[in-house]
Amino acid sequence: MHLATDDFELFGLPRRFAIDRAELDARRRALQAEVHPDRFVGADAASRRAAMQWAVRVNEAYERLADPVRRGAYLCELAGVPIAAEDNTAMPAEFLRQQMAWREALAEAESRAEIDVVWRELERERRLALERLAAALDERQDAASAAREVRGLMFVERFAADVDRRVAKLEG
C-alpha cells in the first residue's frame, strides 16, 4: 500500500462502477481513524508528515469514489481512456439541442415551481445517463462509450450548478 495505490485498492473495494455508499463511508471512517493527523498530534515530525499525506490521499480517493461522474471518469482513465474534456468538446447534435432547450426553459422560468420542472427533467436525464455509464463500465467493459457518457454528464452537472444558483438567488 503506497500513496500511488489506486482508489479502489486503497479502499479495499472492487474496481467497478457500482458502489455501496454506506460501505464506502464506513471504510473512509476506518481509514481516517488510522491515518488522520489528529491521531499523531504528539508524534514525531516524520509521523505527522506521513499522516498528513495519507489523510489527504484518503480524502482525495473518497471524494472521487463518492461522486459518480468522477468515479466513472476515473474508471475510464484506469482502463486507458482518459476523458480529456478540454480536447473533446464535440457532442452529438441531439444532445446539444436538448441542452439548449433546458437553458431556455431555465432562463424563462420565473418561479420555484417552474425551475423544479426543469430540475426534474435534468434529474431524469442524469439518472438515465448514469445507468448507461454503469452498463458500459460494469457489463460491457466498453471504456470508450463510457467516456462519452462521462463527457455528457459533465455538461449536465454544469447545467445543474446553474440551476442551483438560480434557486439560491430566488430564495435569497
Binding site: F11, L31, N59
Partner: protein
C-alpha cells in the same frame, strides 16, 4: 478532595504522564476554558466561581491590564481603552468594520491589512487583545489543574475564513498555548452533545453567538463526527440585535447617544432587556445617555420586530446549507442550539418552523462549545479513556486564485473534507516572463472583487520562455486546522520558484516573532530561557512519541534499524539533560530524519488494519 485516578492495568504504564489539555471557546461576548477531569468534561471557574469570562480587555494607567468583568466595568467610562467583541476584528481590515464599531475605538488610519487599535498602552492588534483573554484562561486552567498545560484546542466559528483562523492561532501562541487543533464551534458542540447522549445520525447545529452565526450539518457514527456541510455569516450575531434594539429604544425615547460611552451604555442596557425578554413578556430598558436617564417599558413583541430581519438572515443561511448538502429537511435527526442568543424564543420558533421539529435545548448553550473542545483536547493529547473520538471536518469557503480579468479560478471547493491538497497548472502571459504574481482569494463568487483576499504571492526565478510555455504548478494544501498553505513550482525546468507571502489581513511571521519577543505574557522570563525550555519540551514529546511507536510497532524494524534509533534517542536524552539548545535541536533533527521510513511503515500497517478490520466485520 479530588479523586485519585486509577488506570486500567496495562493501559497506562505511567499514570503521572496524563496530559492536561484544555478546550477554549474564544467567544465574541464570553470566553470559557474547560478540561476533562476524571472522565468528565467541565468548565473551569474563576476565583469567584464564574465560568464565563467576558471577552473584554481594558488597558489601564501604569501598563496594567484588566480582563473580563474588571475590564467591563470600564466599558462606559473608558470606552477607547476597553476593547470588547474583539473577535469581530480578528483578521479584518478597516473596510470590514461597520460604522458603529469604527466610532467605538481609535483605529489606526494608515494600517494596512488587519486593523490596529490605538490605546493608552500603545498600538494593539486584535491578535494581541485576544491573546490577553487567552492568557487569562490559560492562567485559570493552570491554577485550577495545578499543572503545566500540554496544549489546547481552540474553537473558531465554522465560517471563519483563513485570515480569521490564522489570527486566532497566532493569538493562542502569543498567549503561550500550544495549539493542538483549531476546531469549529458547531463541531465542538456536537461532540459534547453527541457523546453525552450517544446520538447517531444526521444533526444540524445552529450556532448564533455574539458576533457570528454558523450552521453545520454533521453525521455522527460511533464516535466519528463528520461535517457534511457548513455555512453561515461571520459578521452576524446577537450583538447586531442588541445594537438595533438599542437604536430603536433610543429613537422611541427621543434620546441620542452622543459618544462611544453612551453607545456602550445603550448596548449593555439593550442586552439586559433582551435577556429578560427571553423569559418575561415585559422588561424595562434603563440607561443613562448624554447625562439623561432613559427609562422605557418594552415588550417582547418590540424586540421581536427588531430582531426578525436578523433571524431571517440566519434561516436563509440554514436553507442554503441544507440545499448544499442535498438532504431533505426531514432527514435531519435533531437540531442542537448553541450560543446565548439562541435563548430568544423567536430564534427557537424560527428553527422549529424551518425544520418542522423542536430544537434540542437540554444543554447549556453557553458552555457546550468549550465542553466539546475539552473532549477533543483530551483525545488529541492521547489520554487513556478519551476513546475513539474522531473529527472529520470540511473547508467552509472555496479557495482559489485570481486569473486574467479579475476572475476567480477555484482550486478547492467549499465543503471539501480536510486535510486536502489540490494542484493546478498556470502559464506565463508574456515572452520571457520570469516572475508571476499570485493572488489567493476565498469565497463563492466569480469575481475577485466579491471574494475575500487572503494573500499575495510573488514567484521569482521562472526560466525565460515564450509565453504559454512555462508550467507553473500551484498547490493548495489545507491542513487539519483548516489553514491554507500554497506552494508553486515551475514544472518544465523543475525550478522551485521562490515565494514571498504577503497576508492581506494577517500578521507576518516577523510581526508574530516581534510580539513574542516583546514578551507578551512572559515578562517573568527571558527569551533564551524560554527557547531552551521549549526545546526540552519538544525533545520530551519526541522521545515519548518514539517510545510509544516502538512499543506498538517495534516489530516492523530490523535489529540494525532499531539499534540506530536507540542510539539517536540516547544522544537526544543526553543533550536534553544539558542546556545547549542548538545541540538539542540538532539531535532532534537527526532522530526525526532517521524515523522517516519507520513512520511510513507504521502508516501502512494502519491502513492494512483499517481494511482488515472491515473485512472481519463483514463476515
Amino acid at each position: 478532595m479530588a479523586l485519585l485516578q486509577i488506570s486500567e492495568p496495562g493501559a497506562s504504564p505511567e499514570p503521572h504522564t496524563r496530559r492536561h489539555a484544555v478546550g477554549i471557546d474564544l467567544g465574541t461576548t464570553h470566553s470559557l476554558v474547560a478540561a476533562v477531569r476524571s472522565g468528565v468534561a467541565e468548565c473551569l471557574p474563576d476565583h469567584d466561581g464564574e465560568v464565563l469570562l467576558p471577552s473584554a480587555v481594558r488597558y489601564l494607567e501604569g501598563g496594567r491590564v484588566a480582563i473580563g468583568r474588571d475590564a467591563l466595568a470600564g466599558a462606559v467610562d473608558d470606552p477607547k481603552n476597553t476593547i470588547v467583541s474583539v473577535k469581530r476584528l480578528m483578521g479584518r481590515g478597516l473596510d470590514d468594520v461597520g460604522a458603529a464599531t469604527r466610532r467605538a475605538y481609535d483605529f489606526v488610519d494608515d494600517a494596512v491589512g488587519m486593523v490596529r487599535l490605538s490605546t493608552r498602552a500603545g498600538i494593539k492588534s486584535p491578535v494581541e487583545v485576544s491573546a490577553e483573554i487567552l492568557a487569562a484562561l490559560r492562567q485559570r486552567a493552570e491554577d485550577t489543574l495545578d499543572a503545566h498545560l500540554y496544549g489546547a484546542v481552540v474553537t473558531v466559528p465554522a465560517y471563519f475564513d483563513d485570515a480569521q483562523r490564522q489570527a486566532t492561532k497566532d493569538a493562542a501562541e502569543l498567549a503561550g498555548l500550544q495549539v493542538l487543533r483549531l476546531i469549529s464551534e458547531p463541531t465542538a458542540a456536537s461532540i459534547a452533545y453527541g457523546l453525552d447522549n450517544a446520538s447517531e445520525g444526521l444533526y444540524a447545529v445552529y450556532d448564533l453567538g455574539g458576533g457570528t452565526f454558523d450552521i453545520s450539518l454533521l453525521r455522527m457514527t460511533k464516535g466519528v463526527f463528520e461535517v457534511v456541510a457548513t455555512g453561515g455569516d461571520s459578521a452576524l450575531g446577537g450583538d447586531d440585535i442588541d445594537a438595533a434594539f438599542a437604536a430603536w429604544v433610543l429613537a422611541r425615547a427621543g434620546a441620542e447617544a452622543a459618544d462611544a460611552g453612551d453607545r456602550r451604555a445603550a448596548m449593555l442596557a439593550a442586552r439586559a432587556a433582551k435577556e429578560t425578554l427571553s423569559t418575561q413578556e415585559r422588561a424595562v430598558f434603563r440607561c443613562s445617555v448624554s447625562g439623561r436617564n432613559v427609562e422605557l417599558a418594552v415588550e417582547r413583541s418590540d424586540l421581536e420586530a427588531v430582531a426578525r430581519p436578523f433571524v431571517d438572515r440566519t434561516i436563509a443561511a440554514v436553507r442554503a446549507v441544507v440545499r448544499d448538502a442535498r438532504v431533505a429537511r426531514d432527514a435531519i435527526d435533531g437540531i442542537v442550539l448553541v450560543g446565548g442568543a439562541t435563548r430568544m424564543p423567536l430564534v427557537r420558533q424560527a428553527v422549529h418552523e424551518f425544520f418542522g421539529r423542536a430544537p434540542l435545548t437540554n444543554l447549556d448553550p453557553d458552555q457546550v462549545v468549550a465542553l466539546g473542545a475539552a473532549r477533543q483536547a483530551d483525545a488529541l493529547a492521547g489520554n487513556v479513556g478519551a476513546g475513539d473520538l474522531l473529527l472529520l471536518d470540511v473547508v467552509p469557503l472555496s479557495l482559489g486564485i485570481e486569473t486574467m480579468g479579475g476572475l476567480v479560478e477555484r482550486i478547492i471547493e467549499r465543503n471539501s473534507p480536510i486535510p486536502t491538497a489540490r494542484a493546478q497548472s498556470f502559464t506565463t502571459f508574456q515572452d520571457g516572463q520570469t516572475a508571476m504574481a499570485i493572488h489567493v482569494v476565498q469565497g463563492e463568487r466569480d469575481l475577485v472583487a466579491d471574494c475575500r483576499s487572503l494573500a499575495r504571492f510573488e514567484l521569482h526565478g521562472i526560466p525565460p520562455m515564450v509565453a504559454g510555455a512555462a508550467r507553473i504548478q500551484v498547490t493548495f494544501t489545507v491542513d487539519a486546522d483548516g489553514l491554507l498553505s500554497v506552494e508553486a513550482r515551475e514544472e518544465t525546468s523543475g525550478v522551485e520558484a521562490s515565494v514571498t507571502v504577503k497576508p492581506s489581513y494577517g500578521l507576518s511571521d516577523d510581526e508574530v516573532t516581534r510580539m513574542l519577543q516583546e514578551g507578551f505574557g512572559h515578562a517573568e522570563d527571558d527569551m533564551a530561557a524560554r527557547a531552551l525550555r521549549e526545546a526540552q519540551v519538544d525533545a520530551d514529546r519526541l522521545l515519548a512519541a518514539l517510545a510509544s511507536a516502538l512499543a506498538s510497532d517495534g516489530d516492523l524494524l530490523a535489529s540494525g534499524e532499531r539499534a540506530v534509533l536507540d542510539a539517536l534517542a540516547e544522544t537526544l536524552r543526553r543533550t536534553r539533560a544539558g542546556s545547549d539548545r542548538a545541540a538539542i535541536e540538532q539531535s532532534m533533527q537527526a532522530l526525526s530524519a532517521a524515523t522517516d521510513p519507520f513512520a511510513a511503515e507504521r502508516m501502512n500497517r494502519g491502513i492494512r488494519r483499517a481494511l482488515a478490520g472491515r473485512r472481519v466485520e463483514d463476515l
